[in-house]
Symmetry: C2
Subunit: 380 residues, 2 copies
């Protein structure tokens, strides 16, 4: 993956170049040996007046990938994860041996309001986005409700952001590498009550890629392959009476992925989860089973989600600090798991990392429809 950041001058070609370079160094398979490619991309750049489609076609032929199926997969903020899900399925079904999954997004170069408006086009733009219900507003409501139902404090929410900034300080691919105190975070300006600026993931440009192949032969092409135990996508409707303090599709996708992998929440050593806002990560602890419902606040406050705790959540820095180029995010999560399970993360290495989980969320309608992807990977 490239270092996530704000690169107004870069297009898809420039953003993806570093990925292809790293991929070539990491595998003995030439990119011309790739048999299918799935490109996760939300499409923000197109909505801002730039390249609006076929990002995979655009960049892959320059990388030497040719005469194979290439398509873009979009699923809101879960676009990259969904591309990964499709790539794994293509190999698992035996359609192809080697599949490339690329995630890419370009969000820089336009005023904040325009980017937010474009992102709202990944929720229900017609009925909600046009009324001002963009993502920060939606998650502000969720935060207030979680505080009301479970007593979750502002400090606990800010702890998520502090922790992830601490992690990102050790990751040279992260957009923000500066540590922050709880006070820094809570004194930053309010974006959507109660959420402050440093509790919101940034607009970012970036790209990430992974190469998938059958486990039986992966070792021939790569010195340190990692195993995909399971991956599931669930798009679901919570039902009108369901509280907004739980994203049920996360639980449904997690349940399937735990079952297929033969593991449970207690077996997860590290997790990359969709911390688009501080409060979101607290919900995910609960929905993924890392703690009981309503206990996400105390869980992070007591160190359960960092080094030395029950499960290291977002060792990369997460969306909040590593950055959130929408379509690249889900693929970058997998890149982090791979590096951690290989033991190559240096100062942010999770000790004895054996099993990792990646989780993304996309879309959000009427407080009750979203997609979630949960993937579980293991050390080989």
């Amino acid at each position: 993956m490239c270092r996530f950041g704000y690169y107004p001058e870069a297009g898809f070609r420039e953003l993806s170049a570093e990925c292809f370079g790293e991929l070539k160094r990491d595998t003995r398979l030439p990119l011309s040996g790739v048999e299918a490619a799935y490109c996760g991309n939300f499409g923000i750049w197109g909505m801002l007046g730039g390249q609006g489609g076929t990002p995979g076609q655009l960049v892959l032929h320059e990388a030497g990938v040719d005469r194979i199926p290439v398509m873009r997969i979009e699923n809101g903020c879960a676009s990259g994860s969904t591309a990964f899900f499709q790539g794994v399925r293509a190999v698992a079904a035996g359609f192809h041996d080697f599949v490339l999954v690329l995630g890419i997004e370009k969000m820089s170069g336009a005023p904040t309001g325009e980017v937010l408006d474009a992102m709202a086009g990944g929720a229900d733009y017609e009925l909600e986005g046009t009324m001002g219900a963009t993502f920060p507003g939606i998650f502000g409501i969720v935060a207030n409700r979680h505080a009301f139902e479970y007593g979750t404090t502002r400090k606990q929410m800010a702890m998520v952001s502090k922790k992830n900034h601490d992690h990102a300080a050790l990751n040279d691919k992260a957009m923000f590498r500066k540590r922050m105190s709880i006070e820094d975070i809570l004194s930053s300006r309010v974006i959507a009550d109660p959420l402050c600026l440093f509790e919101c993931s940034p607009f970012s440009d970036g790209a990430a890629a992974v190469l998938l192949g059958p486990s039986e032969i992966a070792g021939r092409y790569c010195d340190r392959p990692v195993r995909v135990l399971s991956t599931n996508l669930v798009t679901g409707q919570y039902g009108e009476k369901q509280s907004i303090t739980s994203f049920l599709p996360t639980s449904w996708a997690a349940e399937k992925s735990y079952r297929e992998a033969g593991v449970g929440p207690d077996d997860i050593d590290l997790a990359e989860v969709h911390d688009c806002f501080s409060i979101a990560e607290i919900l995910h602890y609960e929905d993924l089973g890392f703690c009981l419902k309503g206990e996400g606040g105390p869980f992070v406050e007591t160190g359960g989600a960092s080094f030395g705790g029950k499960v290291v959540v977002n060792p990369s820095g997460g969306l909040l600090s590593k950055g959130h180029p929408l379509g690249a995010t889900g693929v970058a999560q997998v890149v982090e798991l791979v590096e951690q399970l290989r033991g190559g993360c240096g100062r942010r290495q999770v000790e004895n990392a054996r099993i990792g989980l990646a989780h993304c969320l996309g879309g959000f309608f009427h407080g009750d429809v979203a997609s979630a992807v949960v993937s579980i990977l293991a050390k080989n």
Copy 2:
């Protein structure tokens, strides 16, 4: 499918409602029995300031589809065909029994220039679109070159449009149902030399859907199922020296699909092909093997591509006359094949239709990269 047209007041919900209604009448499977859904959508509406993502999530939960994988598939103008390709694969691999493929696009309500600009975002926007190389210009160049290399006449190109308008006049789902003379077509205003207005497919709104399932059990849920023999997507690079008068990905995808289906071009009774411009259909005759290279002009002029000819091409009216809501197009082609193979097309019924072919093209870069999908269906 809904009747394609220009519906500035309709959103994705309104456009898809008729599809779901027809689907419910045509099958005994409730939509809640659908196990995965692929939504083909280019994303024009988002680029024009409307719903920019997750169209499947948006409309499917209202149709009663829930707790399943849903995603959007984008591949330029081949988005709908690529969604179909993915849907067929999901069933073929055994991941799901019943898969819904929805194609949808909304293009109305914005000035022509803005829509063209958005569409150019499905080709190479950065290096070509910004220079004015939108699709009409690209295909105008192709037309001039085909005329230069093979002596293809303006009358032959106009014949494609006349034929497709004749067909559409018999199709109550078509956007344009008015017959046109060669003179009407050639005297309409020039859009991109030499192509005239009535040789260019229109901007359209529309949606189409098909339900896929294993052939062994399809008969339980549907009185008149149709068989998918093969479907292939190839994204490819022609190589710098290749002429622009052939879209090689079409030939590559066709070759694979013919081989897998165990049929050849001579076995095809009808074909729905990507006639985005009159000249395009002439290239497709050649690339799909319906006639020799360079003979597409005489082929259509002598009636080879209409009723009573070798193969009835675009009995629905094609993109030129039925309309071209980008993401819906590839799925609507399959809808036409299904209706024809069932023998339910009334006055535009192809006699003894046994085998049909659908073809879409998407993306176009440097005159040498594009995606093509070719699917072959047979009467059950």
